[in-house]
């Protein structure tokens, strides 16, 4: 296993500390600009989230399934822009790290340095750019590193063994283990690839490894946390925000928290 070669930033430091206390990491995803999204962030933070991932809606979200597509379209229709979302975030007084998820054209259009600065000014510490793979990431990462924005890299089940260490090497904050072959969205079962992916990554890095994409409820989060350091929950959170509102998100985050605080019983 390889230790991180870089100096851990605010997100990584915080998540390492959380892990070191024996607590599993919970990161809910919330689409910025939806009705009640700021309340949802506060509710999630108050009910056991360790960080929040905020999605900046994009017109063509190719990594997202129907729920987050619908949320993105709705937020855009309601007039959300990267600027309005980051502006509203400034007023959020939660004490946990904020991460932004956005597609690369949002970053490219704003300009790397300008975008990284706008994140920092809004109190965001990290970025996930799902359509910016390792080979295309150098320019953005250079700007982000210098401004102190941690770029989370995704590791996918299709990556051959020789590729994973290179992805991990470039990752800041944590490593995002893509739980299945497919786009975001709720599934009835946790894919076998979720734990397998976490296992492969835990073998090669001591950075926090979080599983996301297809972790759809408290029970699946608990299963994934048997190996992973934590989980990201997207569609299951956003669906509740769309259908039932911010209180429902807070309650759900509390349920998942309780589940991952109780390890899965193993039959030996």
């Amino acid at each position: 296993m390889k230790s991180a070669q870089h100096k851990p930033g605010a997100l990584e430091t915080r998540l390492r500390q959380t892990r070191d206390t024996g607590r599993k990491i919970l990161v809910p995803y919330i689409t910025g600009g939806l009705t009640g999204w700021i309340d949802a962030i506060r509710g999630a933070a108050a009910n056991g989230a360790d960080a929040i991932e905020i999605g900046i809606p994009f017109s063509d979200p190719v990594m997202d399934g129907p729920i987050i597509q619908m949320a993105s379209e709705k937020a855009l229709r309601d007039g959300a822009t990267p600027i309005s979302i980051l502006h509203e975030l400034r007023g959020v007084d939660v004490s946990i790290p904020l991460i932004v998820m956005c597609y690369y054209n949002t970053v490219f259009r704003a300009g790397h340095t300008r975008f990284a600065n706008s994140l920092r000014e809004a109190g965001v510490v990290a970025a996930i750019v799902p359509d910016l793979p390792l080979e295309e990431s150098a320019h953005w990462c250079e700007s982000a590193d210098s401004i102190g924005i941690e770029t989370v890299m995704l590791a996918a089940p299709t990556a051959p063994d020789e590729r994973l260490p290179r992805v991990v090497e470039r990752a800041r904050g944590f490593v995002y283990a893509v739980g299945l072959l497919g786009v975001t969205g709720e599934r009835t079962e946790l894919a076998t690839t979720a734990v397998a992916m976490a296992t492969r990554l835990k073998k090669i890095t001591d950075m926090p490894v979080l599983v996301g994409v297809g972790v759809s409820n408290a029970a699946q989060a608990q299963q994934a946390c048997a190996v992973a350091d934590g989980v990201i929950q997207g569609a299951s959170v956003v669906r509740r925000l769309l259908d039932e509102g911010a209180d429902s998100v807070a309650q759900y985050v509390g349920e998942v928290r309780a589940a991952i605080d109780t390890p899965v019983s193993t039959n030996r």
Binding site: P61, V62, M63, A156, R163
Partner: protein, 396 residues
Amino acid sequence: MNPEQVPRELLTPGADGRFGEFGGRFVPETLVPACEELERAFNEAWSDSLFRTELDDLLREYAGRPSILTECHNLGAQLGIRLILKREDLNHTGSHKINSVLGQVLLAKRMGKKRIIAETGAGQHGVASATAAALLGLECKVYMGAVDIERQSLNVFRMKLLGATVEAANSGSRTLKDAVNEAMRDWVASVETSYYCIGSVMGPHPYPFMVRQFQSVIGKEARKQFQEICDGSDPNIVVACVGGGSNAMGIFSGFIDADTRLVGVEPAGGAAVGRGTPGVVHGMKSYLMQDEYGQVQEAHSISAGLDYPGVGPEHSYLASVGRAEYPSVNDQEVIEGFKLLARAEGIIPALECAHAVAWIAKEAPKIQGQTVLMNLSGRGDKDVAQMMTILGDSLS
């Protein structure tokens, strides 16, 4: 730019998949190994004489290549130019799409894939994909915007007849760009067994390069054929319509080193090169119609095949270095172009190609006496129902 400094070479992108600053591979991590595998597989196949022979045989015996040139004596005289058409409309399935699809599906089979995914706008690429999948025994799923399914119902039926499944893309503008999104989402989930057969010179590397190589047969044939009928000379102007831009890259590739103007005609409502700015969508960096925040704008064109807010990265490169020009024409001009070719020459063009006809008619006063080679990339049968609604009783 000084015309002498304009590059006159066809680029082969390196490992970064770039044509100048354009192109690249902006895909989810899940798809990176698949793109790398495809790049290796294509390069191997393209330099394998057995693969090339098999493809050439299919192009000749199945698609009907080489396609002929037709000189438009009537329209040429009317416009004061010498106008010659490259007849890709006469290929099997009625457009140039078959050139790339036969190559790609043959490659998919060689790679051991069992299933083809494709997106389609007007339905021409979907029909071609369904055709090649039927011929070569692969399963085929075609994504098509719900709006396009409505305006191209004949092609939807054709695809189904050929054994393909047609899935409606109901997100966003429900046209070609959304069909591409859906196809990419399918590919992310099925990458181990499926081959994504992209319909144009777009998408992540190696697609823009690979599809151009498969379509370069148009330009190779056309240059030789043109020289045969025009005493060894090259045309003054080569014209093609541009949506993603595969038929244009196909014919341009044959004339890149010639002393020939290359003109790609965009629809006014989807003029990515003409009115767009550099952006990144569908795996590539290229000119894109987008707002100030990078949200991709919806294209609006009478022709479903050109209803796309982006363009292949090689076109962005050719525009940026001044080697090709990208004017646009509006829907009304296109309707006139459609009628013009039908009445003067007895050839009903696809609405996409009617864009090229419209530009030629408009430009004619400035290019008197010149030779113009136009790629007639598809036939208009698929558009007849739509045009019947538009023109109705106005035809005498």
